[in-house]
Symmetry: C2
Subunit: 103 residues, 2 copies
DNA sequence: TGAACATATGAATAGATGTTCATTTGTTAA
DNA sequence: TTAACAAATGAACATCTATTCATATGTTCA
């Protein structure tokens, strides 16, 4: 019965384009570093920028990409916006990738 | 003890750059389609090109990228080169991505 | 209200990347 | 060995994308 290929899990080729778009988001070291630093807990934009030693604007632009792809969540507290990882998939996708990279 | 973040799984920031490079490979629909079509079994370069309706050269270029990242394997049989998926990580990474895309 | 601060946004630029065309390399079989 | 076929490669081009600078939006607090 059920073979172990992915054929059954991909109903439509259209989905592959969406999937490529998702992986594109993971395919940038700045965004990956943002997700990494957020894995310890929520942080403000400035805290992320300082933590990574990058410009506030750069981080803000990339956070937008992450937000649009539902990989991070935002919460406002006063003047600050606190970002955190959105769901478990983020971590799982990264872990799967790591297994491949580290082997 | 062991919290459920990914901090412990990422020993070095350097690795994040390698990881981004890996995800870059998944972040292209042509390469993703190649991996998809290979999930049914090994295929020659021409068979892939015809299956996807793309140029032989395009496929060959992308197969090289997949090869360099150890995502596909090659085997020569006469004039033809038969490509197949390299390991389980390929499928697992794609499946994780799909879970996110399809939700 | 207005000054100070945090974040978002837009335009511009530089660098990366995918595809195509033309050609080369490598293999088979006559 | 040579013709025919399969795959790989290189150069050129067009497109996309990440970063930066400058500025706008939004919030707090005096």
């Amino acid at each position: 019965m059920e073979t172990n290929n992915i054929t059954n899990d991909i109903p439509d080729i259209e989905v592959l384009f969406d999937l490529a778009d998702l992986f594109k988001v993971f395919g940038d070291s700045t965004r990956l570093r943002i997700m990494y630093i957020l894995s310890s807990g929520e942080l403000s934009v400035l805290a992320i920028a300082e933590g990574l030693g990058m410009e506030q604007s750069t981080i803000s632009h990339q956070l937008r990409v992450l937000r649009q792809n539902k990989l991070v969540r935002v919460r406002r507290d006063g003047k600050q916006m606190y970002y955190s990882l959105d769901d478990d998939h983020v971590q799982k996708i990264i872990e799967m990738g790591l297994e491949h990279v580290l082997e």
